[in-house]
């Protein structure tokens, strides 16, 4: 016992609790220590999402499928929107699948802190885990939607090329954008419940500003590159380019979007950490 006591006394404290000021470090090491909790949060979100629904995970197919059908009818058939040389249904479905991943990740992470207020006011853990888990749990729905897309590609005789190795990079780009925006909005939502009303509106506007139902090739350079300041423009175009194989390779778009997504993610994470100390008191 005595040796134990001395050992405990001599080691550095495990936790030093004192007021923090201003911008603080992200403490990613601690985040890593809590990775099992992150896993359980993702697992919980996935498990609970379709509990007590009649058709369960079929919702993950129905949403992109019907969006694609409506787009194909109105934009593809009636408005004759171009689709970069691939069948319009495949074009819009590929856009919808990656867009839906982003949009769900954004909305769920934006409300995630408030939804978990009981945890935040009762238990300590790095709060970053909550919005990150919300975005990551969307990967399951994304995988289901992706399967649907593969079926449509095969049906239309489209085979992926070697570019497919870039695919994860564009999924990551969408993920980083969703998380970046989600971190900002979730932290703001703790104090300003206005966020609840902003999010659906924001998602709707953002989709119109993203090449989901139309190709970015409608724009000419340099405007096309400027357009990529919306990181989702690069993510959606890139996703299509890598998987379905659109004609152009809009390299400058990818770079601009990647920089924007990284900026959103970093600024979001630092803002989140700065506000974190007030969460338990305000939520």
């Amino acid at each position: 016992m005595t040796t134990n006591v001395n050992a405990a006394a001599m080691t550095a404290p495990r936790a030093i609790i004192r007021p923090s000021r201003g911008w603080v470090s992200l403490r990613l090491g601690e985040f890593w220590e809590f990775r099992e909790l992150l896993y359980f949060f993702v697992w919980r979100e996935v498990k609970v999402r379709y509990k007590q629904t009649a058709i369960g995970a079929a919702w993950a197919i129905i949403q992109p499928l019907f969006t694609m059908l409506i787009f194909s009818l109105f934009f593809g058939r009636l408005a004759k929107v171009p689709s970069d040389g691939i069948p319009y249904p495949v074009f819009s479905l590929s856009g919808t699948v990656i867009w839906t991943f982003f949009a769900n990740g954004l909305s769920q992470s934006a409300s995630s802190l408030v939804d978990n207020s009981n945890l935040i006011s009762k238990i300590y853990f790095p709060r970053l885990i909550i919005p990150v888990a919300s975005v990551l749990s969307g990967l399951v729905d994304f995988a289901i939607g992706f399967m649907l897309l593969v079926v449509f590609m095969i049906g239309n005789g489209i085979h992926p090329t070697g570019r497919i190795i870039w695919l994860p990079a564009f999924v990551l780009l969408a993920l980083a954008s969703a998380l970046g925006a989600g971190l900002w909005l979730s932290a703001l939502n703790v104090e300003f419940r206005d966020v609840r009303y902003v999010v659906p509106f924001l998602v709707q506007l953002w989709m119109f500003a993203t090449p989901v139902a139309y190709p970015s090739s409608l724009l000419h350079e340099p405007w096309r590159t400027v357009y990529a300041l919306n990181p989702l423009a690069g993510a959606v175009e890139g996703f299509r380019w890598a998987l379905v194989g659109t004609k152009y390779t809009p390299g400058s778009m990818f770079v601009v979007s990647a920089v924007m997504a990284a900026a959103a993610l970093l600024s979001g994470a630092f803002y989140f950490r700065r506000m974190e100390k007030t969460f338990a008191d305000l939520i």
């Binding site: 405990a8 006394a9 495990r14 004192r18 104090e191």
Partner: protein
């Protein structure tokens, strides 16, 4: 015992009242507050830095103030105090849920905190799934939960229902499972808040036994409770918090007995240390209503006493006064009284009504509190504490209930003039 595992030095926690009383703000509040000045708007959004010019105007209160103590390795320390004395806030600060405003605390060990049982339980998930989820939230590793799984289920006595969603559990089963997961935590330092108040008597006894065995394994425990017998049986030392400050810190037996004496004396008190939950509105919020004896003895029909009303004024330059109505057990208003209206700025206000002795009869009374603006607008009306006025030993030989709503000590003059007629009548009476 000598090595310290928790060191707390000058910990304080301040809460701001301005604009936060309704729970949360809307953007519009912030925008209108700062009158559209972008710099101030940004400051509001980023929190932290407060505008010094506005600081003075904002009402605040210290939920904890200059709290210092230390806990040795393997000690079980109790934290006691009245409702709202800062006990839970202290545990929240030490478990890093919320940051202190001042001071520093060091914890030399892996912390597990139990401020509530069943935190993170999801009703749609099964008992089995919730054990993993809750265990992980409380800081257990997956491997550790797997190892203890059977033990947790057996302790909770829910073997048959382990694969049912917990929303179908009875509240007793739910609580047993929740406590069972928590009881199998094995951190070096454990913070516990009132978790013993769950389940039926038999399960509570089992929980207490478990707590005892936890403390015997050399684990350090910080234990918040209202249950003095639990505190006395488990704790070696006790921190007595009073209004956010350490009133006394020392040996359990001595501190608890003094705490119990004080609690008995000042039972006629109601306080709301957290303005968010305090009765009131965006103009005024009640902080404390107390009936206090003149000295340490109970209030009697002979002794004076005072009624203290504390509240937060959130209004700029308002003319306010405080009023009380005293009702007896028959709902008769015995008297009412009000303070002189005074102009006030935002902050804490204490109004004291001095009631003389030899006025009220022995009975149970109830106080109704009024906060009034401009001597006519009632900002707040609240039925508050009851208090008892005790009887005293009487010099006369009558021990029945003294009649009357009040029992003032009135001056009597008795002038007896003996004469013949009177004595005759007396004699008649006697004859009869």
């Amino acid at each position: 015992m000598s090595a310290r595992i928790i060191e707390v030095e000058g910990i304080g926690k301040r809460y701001w009242l301005h604009g936060r009383t309704r729970g949360y703000r809307t953007l519009r509040d912030t925008v209108s507050d700062v009158a559209g000045k972008p710099a101030q708007w940004a400051r509001a959004m980023f929190g932290g830095a407060k505008n010094p010019a506005r600081k003075e105007e904002k009402a605040h209160f210290w939920a904890l103030k200059d709290v210092s103590f230390d806990v040795g390795h393997g000690e079980v320390v109790g934290i006691i105090g009245r409702n709202g004395a800062g006990k839970s806030t202290l545990l929240k600060v030490l478990s890093r849920i919320t940051e202190p405003t001042t001071g520093i605390a060091k914890v030399y060990g892996r912390v597990g905190s139990l401020l509530e049982v069943g935190t993170g339980f999801h009703p749609e998930l099964t008992g089995r799934e919730n054990i993993f989820l809750n265990g992980s939230i409380l800081g257990m590793r997956k491997a550790e939960i797997e190892r203890k799984f059977d033990e947790i289920v057996a302790f909770a006595e829910i073997e048959k229902f382990i694969d049912e969603p917990v929303k179908r559990y009875s509240s007793g089963m739910y609580m047993r499972l929740a406590f069972s997961v928590a009881a199998h935590l094995e951190p070096e330092v454990l913070f516990i808040d009132e978790v013993l108040a769950v389940g039926d008597a038999a399960f509570q006894k089992k929980c207490l036994g478990k707590m005892g065995s936890i403390s015997r394994t050399g684990r350090t425990v910080l234990f918040v409770s209202h249950n003095m017998s639990a505190v006395q049986s488990l704790c070696t030392r006790v921190v007595w918090l009073n209004r956010g400050q350490v009133h006394e810190f020392g040996d359990t037996r001595a501190v608890v007995s003094r705490y119990l004496q004080t609690a008995a004396r000042s039972a006629s008190e109601e306080s709301w240390p957290d303005p968010e939950n305090a009765p009131g509105n965006d103009k005024v919020r009640l902080k404390r209503v107390a009936v206090l004896p003149f000295d340490d003895r109970p209030i009697t029909v002979e002794t004076p006493f005072r009624i203290e009303i504390e509240f937060w004024n959130l209004l700029e330059r308002a003319t306010l006064n405080t009023a009380v109505e005293i009702f007896n057990h028959e709902e008769i208003c015995v008297f009412s009284s009000f303070s002189r209206p005074q102009e006030m700025t935002p902050g804490s206000v204490t109004a004291v009504c001095h009631v003389p002795g030899e006025l009220l009869n022995d009975a149970l009374y109830r106080i109704k509190v009024f906060l009034v603006r401009d001597a006519r607008e009632q900002l707040l009306i609240r039925d508050s504490v009851n208090f008892e006025v005790h009887d005293v030993e009487r010099e006369v030989a009558y021990f029945g209930k003294w009649t009357g709503v009040v029992r003032p000590a009135l001056r009597w003059t008795v002038d007896a003039q003996p004469d013949g007629i009177e004595s005759q009548r007396q004699s008649v009476t006697v004859e009869r």
